[in-house]
Amino acid sequence: MRARLTLVMLLAVVLAACASVLGLRRELPSHPFEHRAHVLKGINCVECHADVASAGETGPLHFPDDAVCRRCHEKPHDTRSCTSCHGEPYVRQAAELARAQLRFEHPTHMIAVRGDCVRCHTQVAEARPETVLPKMATCFGCHQHRDQWTMRDCNGCHVNVRDEGVPPDDHLVHDGDFVREHGVRAASARDLCASCHTDRQCASCHGEGTVPALPWKLALGEVSLSGLHRAGFMARHSDEARADPGLCTTCHSESSCVDCHTRQNVAGTSVRSPHPPGWASGEHGVQARIDPVSCAGCHGGAGEQLCVGCHTVGGPGGNPHGPGFSSHKDEHHDLPCRLCHGVGR
């Protein structure tokens, strides 16, 4: 019991000491604006945000200044500007960003919601800075915007969504282990991905022979824990491939291996052959069934003659096909069947 108490106290001390580093203690004196308190006092939004009903796509933002505050708060408790503490500075920055990047006018929206600001600013009463601006999913409450989403018509609202570079945090969340996850997420929404991501980004991993153009290859100073081929991956890539057979084919064709192994002099009869001694007479058949992609990496194409040179029909190794194997190919004429079953063999 005493040890547990000591541990809890120790953790509390560490947390307190690290509060600033962890972001628990704010560096700025500012805090989220007290919207809820004002609403509970019966103050209508437009009493402070006076110009919002006529604000267009350009011009100053509709944030109240100190003079507006002093209409009610006649004796301010501080000589500094009210906005230096009340309201987060980056909420204003976010609003400036939205003003620059979105095609949006408050007047038309206020008509649609009949002046009820909370229809869009649904979480404004919560005392958290990220809840002031409406989430993008809120826009889809209207048919027009939902249809624009369906049609991938980003330009209806965004000036240039790609340059905007702001990922929505309520959907399309690129979170967790997204490098692994992105394939299945993109399957049904490839065109949606393309609204922000370029072909270059896809091709940098999924293109043929792209290694020199890989972003991480050039981003020497951009260290990251995510990414597939970071740190010493190259040195243990054969172990990584064996741990998940077939995964490499997601980006690499079978020729990728032989290209690199030839360049690095790790191939065939070279002294740096990747196979252990006795490989040919040992477990190569079992390993070939488990991970045929790795075999094809070096022995594909013309290299297949190495296999059929020994494994003739009725020859050593028995039937190479696994249980239940079937194929629609013509065994006498189509590749690869004809290598073993072709006329004259």
Binding site: L97, M151, H171, P245, D334
Partner: protein, 393 residues
């Protein structure tokens, strides 16, 4: 959540990169990468990325992307023509020289068709090698999309891949989204690949459950001799958990059980990332990873650190130590480390110098010096992705 800041309109990006590398006893390597993107009108965009490199007396290069995208302003039709990566539905990503057409209807129907010549690297050429297919999808009640795809690819005139695919994505609630796809091999009947992912989110947590099945023999071209060795599929089932433990501290853990051709195994990792400031300009990270599948067992620890030094300078370092369970004569530990110092000017220049050292299963000792020089035309802040992260909405 990153902090929002003003994004800069940046319609044209051209980058030149040069990389000097001394790798062990090999000679320096030079590399130039040029990429550009422009959208002179909202309905048309052009994109390109070419690179050229030299090592010893060998000079090579390639065109990675060179594509034009044309789009009807309201999204009813869209076309991509040129060299690009084709990926849609359950169709595996493939780089092609060809065309991809999309037609959409307001009620959520989508019809896609594509065709072209798969790219041979380094300006190579293949004969009678082409790919064609399509996808039909329907969005149902704005909460989900169901798609069916077909692809056929031929190499030297013979079928190398013929697949039917199904894909699904749904977000029935704000806190839940599910996605899955499956590709069925028509040539050698059976499931070639299937993946599924379901994620739930609430406040600072996100939990994703995932599963996959892959049949390596069916992922190879059907013209390969190795595609007929049978179907020893591997299955994976796992979960990833993300917890924003503090405003600047993210904890991420992932674990999966695997069945690799009948042998059971597992793998998992835990990551912690601490941002040193609200904008994430500096960060520290630690990862511990364990892989334990038949024939491959190792444990690794990786640490990263990036610190802005002011006046455009930035220092970063990355260290990793991997300890195999069975060294098998390949060394008891495989350490790797990189330290880099970067300088970035407001006029678009960026210089990075790095030292990389390692002891690997292949080399007892290896040390490289790397220098990268970048100049970005038309952009004040060059980045490896050509864009900048400015927050979230």
């Amino acid at each position: 959540m990153g902090l929002p800041s003003l994004a800069e309109a940046d319609p044209l990006r051209l980058r030149g990169d040069a990389l000097a590398e001394t790798q062990g006893s090999s000679s320096p390597t030079g590399l130039i990468v040029l990429q550009g993107e422009d959208a002179p009108r909202s309905w048309v965009g052009v994109e390109g990325l070419v690179w050229a490199g030299a090592r010893s007396s060998t000079v090579t290069g390639d065109v990675l992307v060179l594509a034009v995208r044309v789009r009807e302003p309201h999204g009813y039709t869209e076309a991509r023509v040129g060299r690009f990566v084709l990926a849609t539905g359950a169709v595996h990503p493939v780089q092609i020289d060809g065309a991809h057409l999309i037609a959409r209807a307001p009620w959520g129907s989508v019809v896609e068709t594509f065709g072209g010549l798969p790219v041979a690297p380094r300006f190579g050429a293949r004969s009678y090698d082409w790919i064609a297919g399509g996808r039909v999808a329907q969005t149902v009640a704005s909460v989900g999309t169901l798609g069916v795809s077909y692809v056929q690819r031929r190499e030297d005139g013979e079928i190398s891949n013929e697949e039917l695919g199904v894909d699904l994505a749904t977000a029935p609630a704000k806190w839940l989204d599910v996605a899955a796809f499956g590709a069925y091999d028509v040539t050698s009947p059976g499931l070639a690949e299937a993946r599924a992912s379901a994620a739930v989110r609430w406040t600072d947590w996100r939990v994703e459950l995932f599963g996959s099945q892959m049949s390596p023999g069916r992922l190879l071209p059907a013209t390969s001799l190795f595609s007929v060795l049978g179907d020893m599929a591997s299955q994976t089932v796992g979960a990833t958990v993300r917890w924003r433990a503090a405003p600047r501290l993210d904890l991420l853990a992932s674990g999966a059980g695997q069945d690799v051709a009948g042998g059971l195994g597992s793998n998992g990792w835990v990551r912690a990332t601490l941002r040193l400031d609200d904008r994430g300009a500096g960060s520290l990270g630690l990862e511990v990873r364990r892989v334990d599948v038949p024939g491959v067992q190792w444990t690794g620890v990786r640490a990263i650190g990036a610190v802005p030094l002011g006046k455009g300078f930035r220092y970063s370092s990355e260290i990793e130590i991997v300890v195999p369970d069975n060294p098998d004569g390949r060394g008891v530990a495989w350490p790797w480390g990189l330290s880099a110092l970067s300088w970035r000017s407001l006029s678009g220049w960026e210089v990075t110098g790095a030292l990389e050292a390692s002891s690997t299963p292949q080399q007892r000792y290896e040390a490289d010096a790397l220098v990268r020089l970048t100049y970005a035309l038309g952009s004040a802040t060059p980045g490896p992705q050509g864009g900048q992260y400015t927050g979230s909405r």
